[in-house]
């Protein structure tokens, strides 16, 4: 009698709520092609540079993949990590090539803003694509990483806000935003 109450668990707990694996793969392919086609159109009609198209396509696929593919096995998880690596490589390449190595150099404030963006995007993409490794359970490693990232975030934000000559207010604003950032690095469990 008891078995009849747990049929879903028998198969796999989450599978009952998700699209069938073939549908997931099909949807992923359709949406990928659709996105790539739109990027192609943007290149054709608006002259979007090829490297920007490649970066946009990589980031688009990285954002799409974990939303659609809910199959959990060693290959799909490794692929999720791979999309993270590809997206980060593309973003870092773009930042280094077009900003940090740009002729004439950059001001300290601009570098600070780019570093903040990189910190946020690296962390958010990690949460998005490598969910199984997000620090939901807090331990010394999670606190150490959060402290290091937050210190960098605070320093960069303070550098940027200093350009406004706000004095102590700059510290207060930077501290408040850093607290928000720290809480985002150490997220609450999804349940």
């Amino acid at each position: 009698m008891s078995e009849e109450f747990m049929p879903e668990i028998l198969a796999e707990v989450e599978a009952g709520y998700r699209l069938r694996p073939a549908t997931q793969v099909g949807l992923m392919l359709i949406l990928s092609l659709l996105g790539l086609w739109l990027i192609y159109l943007a290149r054709e009609y608006y002259g979007l540079p090829l490297d920007v198209c490649i970066i946009a396509a990589t980031v688009y696929l990285a954002l799409l993949y974990p939303l659609i593919i809910k199959i959990k096995n060693r290959f799909t998880i490794a692929l999720s990590f791979a999309f993270y690596g590809a997206a980060m490589a593309a973003i870092i390449y773009w930042l280094v090539r077009h900003t940090f190595l740009a002729p004439g150099g950059l001001s300290l404030e601009a570098i600070a803003l780019y570093v903040i963006f990189l910190e946020i995007i690296a962390m958010e993409l990690f949460h998005h694509l490598c969910e199984e490794y997000v620090f939901y359970e807090r331990d010394w490693r999670s606190y150490l990483l959060t402290a290091v990232l937050s210190a960098g975030f605070f320093a960069c934000l303070y550098v940027f806000l200093s350009a406004y000559a706000l004095g102590f207010t700059a510290i207060v604003i930077a501290a408040v935003l850093t607290m928000m950032y720290a809480w985002a690095v150490l997220p609450e469990k999804p349940i």
Binding site: S2, M6, E8, L10, Y17, D51, R74, I77, A89, A110
Partner: protein, 321 residues
């Protein structure tokens, strides 16, 4: 011919892809020690739920450091919890409470076997979709429009002029693009912040647990200690209600949600219905309440290994029960 710069970009993307794929592949390799620990726990400690590191070492034949590492991974996955010293407690796989709330639930139900524990989230999905993601979308659209306004003058140069005006005058041009990226980034952080606030509020206010003997218990106010009670003998009927929106969201969100309605006989004899809104894994909650109502908990033992392996998938995701 592909330019050198583009070729370098493609090479970087491919390198990032391959390196992280290998990393992910290696991280997810099978861990025989963890599997052995799970098997031993299921075999020996499913009923008493508490076990000692020394006893587990004897039964598994694993060295203490290997065993401790395996238990740490299971602890992170939420399968076991350290009580004190070398003593661990087994958590049922359908318990999604924080450690603090799990202890509270165990204490209040007088050490009952908690079969399911989670938080309702009445704000999902509408508040999330409208406010949280809507805010980020607005932020993103604004950043894109400001960029287009700056580069092409479309839809109107006013947007970029407004952004340039709020930047430090001597560096406004230089800071324009990084500031837009900063705005997009802060939008994401703000969404995370709101998300955490909503979850934090739900945790203080909307805990629901199902105990093998105590039945269904739930918080009814902010300062409540599970005063809402439906004893198992009073459960008349239980129903699962997943709306179209919830079904659609379940395809894409990490945690599936749905409403569970419980009809019960109140102390005064009249029948009442309570709806637990947006419960995680609602089908499993439905099955758990149903089996508690009928006193049929045989499934727990029969599928314990499958359930534990599912829950411990962060520790060993490639393993199937």
């Amino acid at each position: 011919m592909v330019e050198l710069e583009t070729a370098m970009l493609i090479a970087s993307v491919l390198a990032g892809f391959i390196v992280c794929f290998v990393l992910g592949w290696r991280l997810k390799k099978r861990d025989p020690a963890v599997e052995k620990v799970v098997d031993t726990i299921v075999e020996r400690y499913l009923d008493e739920r508490k076990f000692n590191l020394g006893d587990l070492a004897k039964e598994t034949g694993l060295d203490r450091p290997v065993l401790e590492r395996a238990l740490r991974r299971l602890e992170r996955a939420g399968v076991v919890t350290r009580v004190r010293g070398d003593t661990y407690r087994l958590k049922d796989p359908l318990v999604f409470l924080t450690e603090r709330d799990y202890d509270r639930a165990v204490r209040i139900t007088k050490d009952d076997n908690i079969l399911y524990g989670a938080y309702q989230n009445p704000y999902l999905p509408r508040l999330y979709l409208l406010c949280v993601y809507g805010l980020f979308l607005a932020d993103l659209v604004f950043a894109v429009l400001a960029y287009l306004s700056y580069t092409m003058g479309w839809p109107s140069p006013t947007i970029s002029r407004w952004v340039l005006k709020i930047l430090p005058p001597d560096k406004a041009e230089e800071l324009f693009v990084p500031f837009l990226l900063f705005m997009v980034g802060m939008g994401m952080v703000f969404v995370d912040f709101l998300d955490n606030l909503i979850k934090g509020w739900a945790r203080e206010r909307y805990m629901v647990i199902v105990g093998a003997l105590s039945g269904v218990s739930y918080d009814v106010s902010l300062a409540d200690e599970l005063s809402g009670r439906i004893r198992r003998g009073r459960i008349v009927d239980v129903d699962l209600d997943v709306s179209l929106l919830q079904k659609l969201i379940n395809y894409f969100r990490s945690v599936p949600l749905g409403d569970v309605k419980v009809r019960y006989r109140a102390e005064e004899g009249e029948e009442r219905t309570i709806v637990f809104r947006n419960m995680p894994f609602p089908r499993e909650l439905f099955y758990v309440i149903r089996s508690v109502q009928l006193g049929a908990l045989g499934w727990r033992k029969k599928y314990a290994r499958t359930l534990m392996l599912w829950r411990a998938r962060a520790a060993l995701p490639s393993v199937r029960g």
